[in-house]
């Protein structure tokens, strides 16, 4: 049974960067899930879904609904159809990781339905992987949706602001009220942390694993849209993520 890792946090703190870099060090097989409608993870991993002929989960869902409306869905039950199409059209299979992307939807309403599909798919695939790592959208709403209810390691990526401390508290409140369980609750500081901000986190009483180091090369990669998998192994950001994963006991 694979371990479930979730990266969450306020917007722009570096959840996707952390996830992309972690994918380089976690022992395979790994399954990555991008739960953000703004779908940046694939790009940061250098995966062009369009060229690969892979659809987002939202797009596949849209097709299923459209097929039901015009009656071209065939005789397969909707349930089986979802499972079939998810695996045949929305699963990207890479050399070192597989990937699901929630994707942007262009119809009115929330992301409960595509989220529920992903939530239902996880227990079916978990046995085939050593790690399933979820990159969450910014904010808290995804927690209320309970896409996974039993997490092994919950990584909260933080920026140096008092809002981050309140954010931690809100995560604790929501997970406990809804009944989301986790074995470990880890804090990770982002590239903007300094000593003062770090001490504040250490004093919070939570397990603080370290900071993702500032890395000018990484900023350039993000601006040009280059894959973070090409970043040198000894770059500051890579080394710090490796160190964080080691402290979490995931690389032994």
């Amino acid at each position: 049974m694979g371990k479930k890792l979730v990266a969450t946090g306020r917007g722009g703190t570096g959840k996707t960067t952390f996830t992309a870099l972690a994918s380089r060090f976690l022992p395979p097989p790994i399954f990555l899930i991008d739960l953000d409608p703004d779908q940046s993870l694939a790009e940061m991993l250098g995966v062009n879904l369009k060229n690969e002929g892979v659809k987002t989960v939202s797009a596949t869902l849209f097709d299923i609904i459209a097929a039901r409306k015009d009656g071209s869905g065939g005789t397969m039950s909707v349930h089986d159809r979802i499972e079939f199409l998810l695996n045949s059209e929305s699963l990207y299979e890479g050399d070192n990781f597989d990937l699901f992307v929630l994707g942007t939807k262009l119809t009115e309403g929330c992301y409960c339905a595509p989220d529920a599909i992903i939530s239902g798919a996880i227990p079916k695939v978990i046995d085939s992987y050593r790690y399933v790592m979820i990159d969450s959208p910014a904010g808290l709403e995804h927690l209320n949706r309970e896409v996974v209810s039993d997490i092994d390691d919950l990584f909260v990526i933080l920026d140096p602001s008092s809002k981050s401390l309140k954010h931690i508290e809100r995560i604790k409140n929501i997970t406990s009220a809804i009944g989301i369980q986790y074995n470990h609750f880890y804090l990770v500081g982002n590239y903007r942390f300094n000593k003062v901000a770090q001490q504040k986190l250490e004093a919070s009483g939570e397990t603080y694993l370290g900071n993702i180091e500032y890395d000018p090369e990484l900023a350039n990669y993000n601006l040009s849209g280059r894959s973070l998998l090409e970043l040198p192994d000894d770059s500051p950001a890579c080394l710090s993520v490796k160190e964080i994963l080691t402290r979490a006991g995931l690389l032994s």
Partner: protein
């Protein structure tokens, strides 16, 4: 009729910072709506809702639904009267005619469609009393699919210097056009992370680029200590740049 201004963007770009700093310049009466469950805007303005006995929309909704359990109260009565309930219990009335409503964190399972829907219905009733209404969106795109407002005047997208921001603009255009969300002006604003090269990149995007929120070490300090951004000196780099950005629009402000 109030000017409806929406501020959106990817996470951590500075949406709430922009709204908090703009609040000083926008002509009052001003209504600020924090649509982010992580509810930072009130903190950044130094508004203590709890201390003033003001509820968030999510909290109020929770109490209404709790009270209706066991059939003691019919929730539909309260839900029909949401406009006046919100005005009495969820509207923080600040100094200098700056008011605020906060969506707030919910602790029950499920999405934010219901509290968002409540706001969607109430906003048209409330805006009559204001000169400017600013909605500070949660990070990302989902709030657009919920269509909390469908006709807006000024749409500000706050950007960070990454290629992801360009794709984000494209997605906003796609979603708003599919869902028929209309706006008069579509403005790009760069955040403190931008340099000259990045700016040129976005200026060439063909969109209206209004400028950059300058880096300001004081804003960083205020954010770490939790101090109100309303107290930031008016001649600080961040304030001055927001003033300059607003000057390039037709939004009603104090004479800048």
């Amino acid at each position: 009729m109030a000017e409806i201004i929406v501020c959106t963007g990817r996470g951590g770009t500075g949406k709430s910072t922009f709204v908090a700093l703009a609040a000083t310049y926008l002509r009052p009466p001003l209504l600020l709506i924090d649509l982010d469950p992580d509810e930072s805007l009130a903190d950044m303005l130094g508004f203590d809702l709890y201390q003033h006995g003001i509820s968030t929309i999510s909290d109020k909704l929770y109490y209404i639904l709790e009270a209706s359990k066991g059939g003691a109260q019919d929730p539909s009565v309260a839900l029909d009267n949401m406009a006046s309930i919100i005005e009495k219990e969820c509207l923080y009335k600040g100094n200098n005619e700056i008011d605020l409503i906060s969506l707030g964190t919910k602790l029950t399972k499920g999405c934010y469609c219901t509290p968002d829907d409540i706001l969607k219905n109430v906003i048209p009733k409330m805006i009559e009393n204001y000169c400017n209404v600013v909605i500070d969106s949660p990070a990302g795109l989902e709030h657009l699919n919920r269509k909390v407002v469908s006709e807006l005047d000024d749409f500000f997208v706050i950007l960070d210097p990454s290629s992801k921001s360009l794709q984000h603009i494209g997605r906003i255009r796609d979603i708003t056009s599919e869902l028929k969300i209309t706006y008069r002006n579509f403005y790009l604003v760069a955040n403190y992370g931008f340099n000259e090269e990045n700016q040129t990149y976005f200026e060439s995007s063909g969109e209206t680029f209004l400028g950059k929120i300058e880096f300001d070490s004081q804003v960083a300090e205020y954010n770490l200590s939790g101090q109100s951004l309303l107290k930031l000196p008016e001649d600080s780099p961040a304030s001055l740049s927001v003033k300059e950005i607003l000057r390039k629009t037709n939004i009603s402000t104090f004479s800048l």
